[in-house]
Amino acid sequence: MNNNHSQTPAAQDATARAVKKINDLLARHWHLDSVGLGNCRAAQRILCRLNEELLIQSAALANANFNPDEPRDRQGQWTNNASGTGTTRPPHSNTTHRPDHSTAKDATAKPKTSGTAGGTKPAPAATPPPEKIALSTDEPALMLERLLLAETLGAEEHGFKQADALKSVRALGALIYNRAHAKQLGFSSIHYPTNLLGVIQQSNQFAGFEHYNPKDPKGGLSDRKLHNIDIWMQGANDPEDKRNYTNYLAIVKQVKETAQNINKGKVDDPFSPSFTFAIKTAGPRHADPGGSFQFLGTAAGNNFYGFSAPSTNRNQIHP
């Protein structure tokens, strides 16, 4: 009622009438109270009327200057009258509609969130979109990632624990690294190619990768292998898949990290201090690698074999 200067004449009249009525009721109640009839039924009715009027008036105050005819868009935002003279516009607004308690710092940054009169609440901070994860574009990281994903089972879909699947990825990464660096590691009697591509392309070692071609966009892999890899990548980028998303993302991240580590010459062998050199893929496998290979352990159904320490006395081992 103290901002009559900003009200329409009709609103000013209504306010004046309400004030007059309240004053009248107060006077009547005071009179009855002064003659010792403050608790009579008439005084109680006056108090009831007074409470009603005060309630109505307090509700009317918030919308006293509301103009239902003012043009707005679907979100309730003003579509014209940007000069700030609109009846429902807060007094300090100019082009953006902000709560009056906005600080100078966020005055330019906070967007308008709604067009309701009497100020708006700031929008809740939007959750950032989940990060997109993709295969590397450069070799040999791409080749390593493809191989690691192609050899990984669906983990929790198969009933394996995620930690087990991550361990399997690390072990296979270590296997590739160890083979390529066997001589440097002191395994002079083991004969494997001395580079990563050679290890992966080696005949009869990794199914489907014998003819891996780094120059081919598909790597020369079969459709089924590529499809397997695609499923991993789709799963790691599909937050809607509540059941598998975190699992797929964790495995794909482990694959990428393992591939990058191998590229940088780092190895993270889960069977350390032993050295992983062979894998028998999950399934009812029969043949062990033979020779002096030792069984190191199982991860996600895959059996891993290797050696505990370099030894020049070991029999010559050919893959």
């Binding site: 669906g154 879909e157 499809h227 397997n228 893929t281 399934g283 033979g290």
Partner: protein, 156 residues
């Protein structure tokens, strides 16, 4: 008598050494029929396909892993039972199938550190076990395609 006992023990040990994972052909599997349909729809060129499924790992009679012999292609397919709400049918099938001659060699030495090669002997043993003890399934490609129409499944 001693010789007989020794012979019996030798045979027993030989049998144990040759022991494989075969457990049973009686199993419950809510997904095997679906996955066979998936495999046929996506990877078979035969109108009629015969499969023999031997459980290699069970959990209270529920199938966990199996070896599947696909007669038409002469292939052994490692099978993994997926959880009931699994989305990707392809994960039911191991990364490597074993095709006679293509993926088999004569001796264990030739297998070496390969992650998929097996010996002919191994392959033949599994094939015989599958046919003798396995649960047979006959999947028609036409039926499989009705379940998994080409191109319409997200998991092709």
């Amino acid at each position: 008598m001693k010789n007989v006992i020794l012979l019996f023990l030798a045979l027993l040990l030989a049998g144990c050494a040759h022991e494989k994972y075969v457990i049973a052909s009686n199993f419950r599997s809510p997904r095997i029929q679906r996955e066979l349909n998936y495999y046929v729809a996506n990877f078979s060129s035969h109108e009629t396909n015969h499969f023999y499924v031997v459980a290699t790992r069970l959990d209270h009679a529920e199938l966990r892993q199996a070896m599947v012999y696909w007669k038409e292609e002469r292939m052994l397919l490692p099978y993994f039972e997926l959880v009931p709400d699994a989305r990707h049918d392809i994960f039911a099938w191991g990364p490597h199938e074993l095709k006679l001659d293509r993926d088999t060699v004569d001796t264990p030495e030739e297998v070496g550190t390969s992650n998929y090669l097996e010996t002919h002997r191994y392959w033949l043993d599994w094939m015989e076990d599958c046919i003798k003890k396995g649960k047979p399934y006959c999947i028609l490609k036409a039926d499989a395609l009705r379940v998994f129409p080409e191109g319409s499944t997200a998991d092709k």
